[in-house]
């Protein structure tokens, strides 16, 4: 049974202070670039910077799968020293991003092959979850069955009721950090959660599309051209996606040695599939958009116990330069599949 603690917001610093003795703290902070105000995950020293009021613009994916990563023996050795002797603590990760890491796990920690770089990071990182007391800009996690107010796998889960922060401390070993803070009333929290969930329900959209998407019918559907017509072909949706994990390699040549690097890649780039011969099996943008959606909602769930490779955080929608909406695509697919005979039953 979890310990429930309540902190006044101004007490947060005190908690983090003690945590930082043992952990490198990563948390959402506000950064202003020109006119743009963004909430991003950064390593924090000054805890007053921490901003928990809204979903960060970037997912915490980079702490498990950095955009650039040098591979090789000496590098994996370096890995631990990167954070010093401290483990990493990512503070205030919302359910969508927590689920996203869970989605990545079976990919990188396959029975046949374990990605040691990913594993290493995972083992040295723990996360404090954060519940959403209101719907974020374009998210719809509830439509995909993700609980916006809880997660099974994290040692600590928090709730922000506007004045105070509630901590559901599930891991015994972490209780020591909370001893000085008062206990919370589980009933009170339960009520709050219920009212928040009520609000969520009001704005919920139904994603009625079968998951996994039936492969052949969807693949050959004509609507891809339509939904991708205005797609520019940039990589924003994939780079901001907490679950997109495609990567490429490049080699950096130096005089005497060659370094192998792993770097994010995106199925939205034309070069992603271009062959050395010049042939490109995914020549047009609609084919690439189809790949992105099909991977998330058909191929991935088919391979991994029906779980889509999407945690419905909505970042691809918010960040898209031309405001392409994943929900619209799923709705379009739904409408199309509804009219295709036998699809629903065959699943």
């Amino acid at each position: 049974m979890a310990v429930l603690k309540v902190l006044q917001k101004d007490e947060l610093g005190k908690l983090l202070e003690t945590l930082s003795n043992e952990f490198r703290i990563i948390a959402p902070v506000v950064r202003k670039y020109g006119k743009k105000e963004r909430v991003e995950y950064h390593q924090v020293e000054d805890f007053s910077e921490i901003h928990l009021n809204r979903q960060p613009d970037t997912p915490p994916k980079k702490y498990f799968l950095p955009q650039n990563e040098r591979l090789g023996e000496e590098r994996s050795g370096e890995e631990v020293t990167e954070t010093g002797d401290r483990k990493t603590l990512i503070f205030g990760v919302r359910s969508c991003d927590l689920s996203a890491i869970d989605i990545l796990k079976p990919v990188f920690l396959d029975d046949d092959f374990t990605d040691t770089y990913f594993q290493n990071r995972l083992e040295n990182t723990l996360m404090f979850g954060l519940g959403c007391s209101e719907r974020q800009e374009n998210c719809f996690c509830d439509s995909l069955g993700i609980n916006p107010l809880g997660d099974e796998n994290v040692p600590v889960y928090m709730h922000d009721d506007g004045e105070r922060i509630w901590f559901e401390v599930k891991a015994k070993e972490l209780e020591k950090f909370f001893t000085e803070f008062p206990d919370g009333d589980p009933k009170e929290l339960e009520e709050k959660k219920n009212s928040w969930l009520e609000e969520f329900k009001k704005s919920a959209i139904e994603i009625g599309v079968p998951i996994p998407l039936p492969e052949l019918v969807s693949f050959n559907a004509p609507f891809w051209k339509e939904v991708a017509a205005n797609c520019l072909g940039c990589g924003v949706c994939t780079y901001y996606c907490p679950t997109c994990f495609c990567f490429g390699f490049f080699w950096e040549k130096r005089e005497e040695e060659i370094d192998k690097w792993r770097t994010w890649d995106s199925c939205m780039f034309p070069l992603f599939t271009k062959h050395g011969s010049g042939h490109n099996p995914r020549e047009t943008q609609d084919q690439r958009t189809r790949q992105r959606i099909m991977h998330k909602f058909s191929y991935h769930p088919s391979n991994f116990e029906g779980v889509p490779a999407c945690s419905a955080c909505g970042r691809c929608i918010s960040q898209c330069p031309v405001n392409i909406d994943l929900r619209v695509i799923l709705k379009t697919a739904e409408k199309y599949l509804d009219n295709q005979e036998g699809v629903k039953s065959s699943g």
């Binding site: 205005n230 072909g233 031309v322 929900r327």
Partner: protein, 280 residues
């Protein structure tokens, strides 16, 4: 204010419906609104009954001209802000599209877009090329200053500033894809024979990428701000390209996208071109 845009939108809908039902164009590229987001998104209307989805507001900050390249070989109508018509002019100058294949529904007296700083520096408030004008053209000409926000900085400060800006770049290439100038099938940034710039997002390669990008824009960039609007990281995308725009204007009296007959900056020269800064 609101009324003005309602009127413009209505007129666009009316004319588009007519154009589509008379078969004068196969489709209209314009702006619409998302179902859930209520944000502006480019839409393609080929059914006259869907013409009502078209609208125009000061939120319409995407450059639509680039979509014309996807529809070569058929007649396409386009809802075009003055900057879009400049982009079209650049295409016409390089014969990337054919004039007779485009029907330009040009918006007169553009007052600039919300949230796009570039608009304040734009002197072109009526379409440069147009087939059908929406609204009354603006009479008085303006020539706003193309600002140099970094003017006060020393060279070292500028270097640091750009280092910082570009270090945030994640190379998602939204700037490239949103830019109407970027029409290469294979971007130099993706080339590996030769590799012009590393694929990593290290500061070194990022800076290099941005310099090369700016150099590629020179003489074509019209300072529309689409790159800056598209950048999810909020990088000051226009600083370098804008500077080159300013230099081309001052040194060569060259501004792209105003005359379809004009050769691009680097495809022409004058015998007495400036040699400012060359070693004598």
């Amino acid at each position: 204010m609101e009324n003005k845009y309602l009127e413009i939108s209505k007129k666009i809908q009316e004319e588009s419906r007519k154009l589509l039902s008379e078969g004068k164009v196969e489709r209209i590229i314009g702006f619409g609104r998302g179902e859930f987001t209520k944000e502006i998104t480019p839409i393609f209307v080929s059914d006259p009954d869907r013409a009502d989805e078209l609208l125009f507001t000061p939120e319409c900050d995407m450059m639509l001209a680039k979509y014309l390249l996807d529809y070569k070989g058929s007649k396409t109508g386009i809802v075009a802000k003055p900057c879009d018509t400049r982009a079209i002019t650049v295409y016409l100058a390089e014969e990337l599209i054919k004039r007779e294949e485009v029907f330009i529904i040009g918006i007169n007296d553009c007052e600039g877009l919300d949230d796009n700083d570039a608009c304040e520096e734009c002197g072109i408030r009526n379409p440069v090329v147009v087939d059908l004008e929406i609204g009354q053209p603006r009479k008085e000409e303006i020539d706003p200053e193309i600002k140099d926000e970094l003017e006060e900085m020393t060279r070292e400060e500028r270097f640091e500033y750009f280092q910082k800006e570009f270090s945030r770049c994640i190379r998602c290439y939204a700037c490239r894809e949103a830019c109407f100038v970027c029409t290469c099938d294979e971007c130099f940034a993706d080339s590996n024979q030769p590799q012009w710039v590393g694929a990593s997002i290290g500061k070194r390669d990022n800076f290099t990428f941005h310099l090369m990008r700016a150099m590629h824009m020179a003489g074509r960039c019209i300072n529309c701000g689409a790159c800056e609007q598209a950048c999810p990281e909020g990088i000051n995308m226009r600083a370098l390209t804008k500077h080159l725009y300013r230099v081309a204007k001052d040194v060569y009296q060259f501004e792209p996208g105003l005359d379809p007959e004009e050769k691009t900056l680097f495809a022409t020269y004058k015998l007495n071109d400036s040699e400012q800064g060359f070693l004598d």
